[in-house]
């Protein structure tokens, strides 16, 4: 849609819009993202990322935190999390 399609501003504060919820459900086998008339299974890593999208933490802080938590190179975390959050935003499951 625009030239920011492959990046996310460091100061963005990603959050789930009203109508989208991350829930843990034993019967469904783990984390699921509930959205308008859709249900997406979330793996443990995706759930850890989405849990941090509270609207309070900045994107840069979320990436820092994940790099620290998983003791992984920041560049790689940045690329992976950007791809994940962009994909969710394109499906209107996340606001940046």
């Amino acid at each position: 849609m625009n030239d920011t399609a492959s990046t996310i501003a460091p100061e963005a504060r990603p959050h789930l819009p009203r109508g989208v919820r991350l829930v843990h459900n034993e019967a469904q086998g783990g984390w699921v993202l509930l959205a308008p008339e859709r249900v997406f299974k979330a793996d443990a890593i995706a759930a850890e990322v989405v849990k941090r999208c509270t609207g309070e933490a900045t994107f840069a802080a979320i990436v820092d935190d994940l790099a620290k938590t998983y003791a992984a190179p920041r560049e790689r975390i940045l690329a992976d999390v950007t791809a994940l959050l962009r994909g969710l935003a394109d499906k209107r499951l996340l606001e940046l």
């Binding site: 109508g19 509930l34 308008p36 008339e37």
Partner: protein, 361 residues
């Protein structure tokens, strides 16, 4: 016996048909021709019990539908009960019969999402299709109210011969209304729509143009609005995996409390449906004869039985198979492998600009 895929799956969604009453008369209505009367409707406490049982079964989302759910005076209490049960609540409405005040109460009661149907982008045509003067204006007003309350909105645009050429305008309308999602929902020929099939069926040329238009719109509005669309049944080569597989993903509770594997299942002969008045939802899901009738793959005949896609599309739709062949166990004739697939094209070619038989109780 539940077949090769015999594990009992966990349902994800519950379609709660709160009432069959509806002020509109849409000729493509998916409700059955024999509608449940008002005096047979489940009361709010019973719905609350059903929602709690559904959550216990693992259901995540409830779709509050009808008929027009706004015809229920206790809609707010019913919605609050679904929310209290921990379910994601989705209101499927014509918008006629729900006031701005009611919508505010619903939002305060935990409503997660609203889906509003639109009949056309042209107001006069929309009202003619709905069989209700002024419906279009009320839809616009309620959509605006929902957006101002920050309730996410899906526009459901049911497509057929009279409006399919305005598909782009209908998506533009959905965007203007503030929808985050639009369903290009081709009429499906069950219930009232089957009765009106010749008057509703689009031409092959219209369907082809519409499919190309959807691709262009998706590219143009990527990230702006989600456009859900599938090839309409009678022009498809592969059948739809109806309700994600019989007794596998979802259940449907009628206004009177009968529990169906899909909303059209009562069109099939010889099935025994159980009611929430006599059984728990868990008992019905696992043991009711109707839910076990087409579970798994043991019920299949050839060519489904040995087909590589049998666990992908589950033989297509049982109600469509019965409606078009007279045999509920037949391969859905929409499938190119079905022996009578060629008859579907012949049926689609039967088009007649007859007056609609409006859906009335």
């Amino acid at each position: 016996m539940a077949g090769n895929d015999s594990a009992l799956h966990t349902p994800l969604g519950l379609l709660a048909e709160l009432t069959h009453r509806c002020p509109l008369g849409c000729p493509y209505c998916s409700n059955p021709l024999a509608l449940d009367p008002r005096q047979s409707e489940l009361d709010a406490p019973t719905w609350a019990r059903v929602f709690n049982e559904a959550a216990g079964l693992g259901v995540l989302q409830v779709h509050l539908s009808g008929g027009e759910p706004g015809a229920r005076r206790d809609l707010v209490a019913i919605t609050a009960a679904a929310h209290a049960a921990g379910l994601y609540t989705n209101l499927i409405t014509s918008a006629v019969g729900i006031t701005a005040a009611t919508l505010r109460q619903l939002a305060d009661s935990g409503l997660d999402h609203v889906q509003i149907s639109i009949q056309d982008s042209d107001p006069a045509s929309a009202d003619r299709i709905a069989g209700y003067e002024g419906a279009f204006a009320r839809k616009r007003a309620l959509a605006a109210e929902g957006v101002s309350l920050k309730i996410p909105l899906t526009v459901n645009a049911v497509m057929h011969r009279a409006n399919i050429d305005r598909l782009e305008d209908m998506v533009a309308l959905a965007l203007a209304l503030g929808a985050s999602r639009v369903e290009i929902a081709h009429a499906q020929y069950y219930g009232w729509a089957l009765k009106n099939r010749a008057a509703l069926m689009p031409t092959a040329a219209q369907v082809k143009r519409a499919a190309a238009a959807v691709e262009q719109l998706r590219a143009r509005h990527h990230g702006e609005i989600v456009i859900d669309a599938v090839i309409p049944d009678y022009y498809a080569r592969l059948p739809k995996p109806c309700v994600g597989g019989w007794g596998r993903r979802s259940l449907n509770v009628t206004p009177g409390g009968r529990v169906l594997p899909c909303h059209a299942a009562e069109s099939l002969p010889g099935l025994e449906f159980w009611s929430v008045r006599e059984h728990s939802l868990a008992d019905i899901w696992a043991n009711s004869p109707a839910f076990n009738a087409f579970r798994g793959t043991d019920w299949m005949q050839e060519p489904c039985r040995s087909c590589a896609r049998r666990d992908i599309d589950f033989g297509g739709c049982r109600c469509q198979a019965f409606a078009l062949t007279g045999d509920a166990r037949a391969t859905d004739p929409v499938c190119y492998l079905a022996p009578n697939h060629h008859e579907v094209a012949a049926l689609a070619a039967v088009q007649e600009d007859a007056p609609y038989a409006y859906r009335r109780m």
